[in-house]
């Protein structure tokens, strides 16, 4: 298997609607090792992940939570900011040979964005063998999160998206359908061996029947991507959803991250940052 992702941050600060979370990593020879993981709850409505914005609805509350997170993690390293699922438009694409991946992504996504393409920032996660997972995020949305992090004393190193960094971590695991849960949105990634074959995003619809609906979405994604049907859940609320589905006799499991930290399975990005 060829590993093409290289996201090996030392410090991660991740945003979502219900919390800010983060991790500090120690460098090991082949992969990162988790030193500290922390999660700080946000008051309801403080952050509203969306593609159009505004996202940071209560900067004071978000700033306090980030300050608390910073006290837990320290700020000695440049931080990778991870924006929540739902803020970007994500697309799995096969990139023609000899083209610039970002330019091609911009060409493919520009017409479908709900704002002018000039207002977006584009980048791709290269998956190898001519395939990439690309995303567009509105600059004004990114700036909101950047200002919040820098205002709390973090030094920004780069900005990534939760579904992209999660997929980077899944490249090692390969097969199956992975449900990557954010507070406001979710992504479904189907793999055949180590090759990402389908990627879909959906807004979350929490409440009665969500587990069953998500399982049906996962099965549709498996059909679309030609996967073997094994389903894992990781991210916000993953543990409860898995318990519910297992109780119904469905063969689902918790995704990576839970073995690294008690709340690790609630952070879809964690396994990716550790890869």
């Amino acid at each position: 298997m060829r590993i093409v992702a290289s996201a090996r941050p030392r410090l991660v600060v991740a945003f979502d609607a219900s919390s800010v979370s983060g991790a500090r990593f120690a460098r090991a020879l082949t992969r990162s090792r988790l030193s500290t993981f922390a999660r700080i709850e946000l008051p309801p409505g403080a952050v509203n992940p969306s593609a159009l914005g505004p996202n940071v609805q209560r900067p004071d509350a978000v700033g306090e939570a980030l300050a608390a997170l910073r006290r837990r993690l320290g700020s000695g390293s440049g931080a990778t900011l991870v924006l929540p699922d739902g803020v970007g438009r994500v697309l799995l694409l096969d990139t023609p040979q000899g083209t610039d991946d970002r330019a091609y992504l911009r060409f493919r996504l520009a017409a479908s964005l709900p704002y002018p393409a000039e207002e977006a920032t584009f980048d791709v996660l290269s998956l190898g063998r001519g395939r990439a997972l690309g995303a567009a995020v509105r600059r004004s949305v990114v700036e909101e999160y950047e200002q919040a992090a820098v205002g709390a004393g973090f030094t920004q190193e780069r900005v990534d998206l939760a579904p992209l960094i999660a997929v980077a971590g899944l490249l090692r695991r390969g097969a199956g359908v992975h449900v990557l849960l954010g507070d406001a949105a979710l992504s479904l990634a189907a793999f055949q061996d180590a090759r990402l074959t389908a990627f879909r995003t959906r807004r979350r619809d929490p409440g009665p029947g969500e587990a069953r609906r998500l399982l049906e979405e996962a099965e549709r994604t498996a059909l679309l991507g030609g996967g073997d049907g094994a389903v894992t859940f990781v991210g916000a609320g993953a543990r409860g959803l898995v318990q519910e589905l297992v109780a119904w006799g469905r063969p689902v499991s918790l995704g990576p991250g839970g073995e690294s930290a008690p709340d690790g399975a609630e952070a879809a990005w964690l396994a990716g940052a550790l890869s």
């Binding site: 920032t121 950047e146 960094i165």
Partner: protein, 169 residues
Amino acid sequence: MSAPDFSTRPRARRPPAWELALVTGGLLAAALGARAVVGTRAEGSAARARLAEVRGEIEGARRRVSDLERRSGDGVTGQVWLTAEAPPPRVVAQVSDLLPPDVRLDALSLTYGRSLEVEMRVVARTPGAYDRLLQRLEASPRLKDLVLGAESREGRVETTVRATFVPGS
């Protein structure tokens, strides 16, 4: 291969460890190089100073040699040397050793200059004794350039012999 980056602000890039190591190594090499340059310059200055000193010593030695040669030409140096190597008591003793038993030395005059000139006033009891004296004087390594004075051969021989004395044991 690089991780995605959606930043809208300039990235605060943290240089990788190998870059830091490279920069540190470069700085260290530069510091060592600078130190070596300073050390070499100091050594160069010291060597130049020493060279100038040696040149001065050589020049001084040359001056002294020239002075000595000049003084030697004046006879002063030779006189000093002869005085040390052939003091009068030693010359008298060595000349006396050359005399046969029936020859006496009435007077001895020593002139110290570029060479030591000896003038001996001798009296031989017989002409035969005088001939033996001349043989001894001629055979002696201590004397050269013998000049014989006028002889009076009325039974005994009285004469003056001049020679250059060659110092030696």
